[in-house]
């Protein structure tokens, strides 16, 4: 059994690595906008294939463990959770690439309004990812119920961001192409937060053995 425990530990570390790569991609893509740094944006785009490759590796390892170890109970919940959350992590990586692409475009244009909502959304979203993965890695010491509530904050900021930009667009229609790109970025972040929520829900499943998706109040 010691061998299996080692394998589970290695899987946990792989997921942790994938997670830190995704967190890094999100952080850098938003910094690329905030600091108008297109080189950084290009870096994010260039690094994405590493996230994709690691996602495949994690998946393969999960399938291998299911086939060879026939896991049950907490081992089964851990491995299936790893398998599902890597899909979310990989999608988050893709969304970071989308943000980076918009960053390169936005950095070509003049800054008609400083970035306020986007960095804030990015910060909350990254916190959500970190809290969910923490519980996954540390084996349920802090069950990420909070993450699900934070998703509402991100949703609200998406709407707020849109309304503010709308006022600018009405005032000066020339900025519409640029403003729309900024609404896209917010939308990407909002979707990243949705994926973080999925991860939190899966981690809660792993810890509690109960699927809380699509439920009104997921509390403890």
């Amino acid at each position: 059994m010691a061998v299996f425990d080692e394998e589970l530990k290695a899987l946990r570390e792989m997921v942790l690595k994938l997670c830190s790569m995704v967190e890094c991609a999100i952080r850098d893509s938003v910094r690329a906008i905030d600091e108008r740094n297109s080189d950084l944006a290009k870096e994010v785009i260039k690094r994405d294939h590493m996230i994709n490759a690691l996602e495949v590796k994690v998946d393969e390892e999960c399938i291998r463990l299911i086939a060879l170890r026939q896991p049950v109970a907490k081992d089964l919940r851990f491995i299936t959770t790893a398998m599902k959350i890597t899909t979310d992590l990989e999608r988050m990586g893709d969304l970071a690439v989308n943000i980076a692409e918009r960053a390169i475009e936005l950095n070509e244009e003049h800054l008609f309004k400083p970035y306020v909502n986007i960095p804030l959304m990015a910060e909350i979203t990254q916190g959500m990812v970190r809290d969910s993965i923490d519980a996954f890695v540390r084996g349920c010491t802090n069950i990420p119920y909070d993450v699900i509530n934070k998703d509402d904050e991100v949703d609200d900021l998406t709407v707020k961001n849109f309304n503010e930009l709308l006022r600018y667009m009405i005032r000066d229609p020339k900025i519409i192409p640029i403003a729309i790109k900024r609404t896209y970025v917010a939308k990407y972040l909002e979707r990243i937060a949705d994926h973080a929520t999925n991860i939190a829900e899966m981690v809660i499943y792993m810890c509690k053995g109960k699927i809380i998706r699509h439920m009104e109040s997921p509390g403890p």
Binding site: M1, F4, D5, Q70, P71, V72, A73, K74, D75, L76, R77, G209, K210
Partner: protein, 252 residues
């Protein structure tokens, strides 16, 4: 519906307290698996259900086993009748050194079930062999010696031998441990068919087998019933830490 109710079952082999206050119910026409490490008492518990432990020297049994509401340990119970009702299959197939036909016909003959009219015994043999999927293979060589069959066929035959006396409950003590994976799979498929008509209790060391065939699983440890519940719950999200350690192979 409950077919068997075990109430405060305590069993001692001399000074050794083997079963400790086991209380639970076994549902009718379901497969219930008893799992647990060697020596935990699962086979002993199984043998309590048709009073096979009665023969063992120095055994003392407290508590009740109700089958259809009737305590099988009450003095007025007819043991032969009880063991006809509650049949048992063992680890190694144990056919009589007789022909296939005589193996299956033996029980009905002993019980005098099919004295008249003529042909009824033949029909019962055919029906029992069909129920275990042996009829097509063996109908033209019913006179072959049972001990010459493959192990899987022998185990099927032993089950057919039980069915011929029309039991309600089938007890299986590690019924596949002498069989290869393919034969095991075939026997497991047989269980799933049999549960339409019989209540089955199976003791197994093979966790995957418990997961594959049973509806309910009881986990036992040093004579105690630790956890009992739906098999899916036990294998996906067991409540007890000991159960989890055992089924994930991290025991001890």
């Amino acid at each position: 519906m409950n077919k068997i109710t075990i109430e405060n079952m305590n069993l001692f082999y001399g000074d050794f307290h083997c079963l400790k206050d086991n209380t639970f119910s076994i549902e009718e026409k379901k497969i219930t698996a008893l799992i647990g490490p060697s020596g935990c008492g699962k086979s002993t518990l199984l043998r309590c259900l048709n009073r096979m432990n009665d023969f063992i020297e120095g055994v003392r049994i407290d508590g009740k086993v109700l089958i259809d509401g009737r305590d099988i340990y009450s003095p007025d119970i007819n043991l032969i009748q009880l063991r006809k009702e509650v049949g048992m299959v063992f680890q190694r197939p144990n056919p009589f050194p007789l022909s296939v036909y005589d193996n299956v016909a033996y029980g009905p003959k002993v019980h005098g079930l099919f004295k008249t009219p003529k042909g009824v015994l033949e029909t019962a043999v055919a029906k029992s062999l069909s129920a275990v999927g042996l009829w097509e293979e063996l109908k033209d060589r019913l006179d072959v010696l049972a001990t010459n069959l493959t192990l899987e066929q022998q185990q099927r035959l032993c089950i057919a031998r039980l069915l011929a006396v029309e039991p309600a409950i089938l007890l299986m003590d590690e019924p596949c441990s002498a069989l290869d994976p393919y034969a095991t799979l075939k026997i497991e498929e047989l269980f799933l068919r049999l549960k339409e008509n019989y209540t089955i209790v199976i003791v197994t060391h093979n966790m995957q087998q418990a997961a594959r065939v049973s509806d309910l699983t009881a986990f036992m440890y040093i004579g105690e019933l630790i956890e009992f519940g739906n098999t899916d719950t036990i294998f996906v999200n067991p409540r007890n830490k000991l159960t989890e350690e055992y089924i994930t192979g991290r025991f001890g």
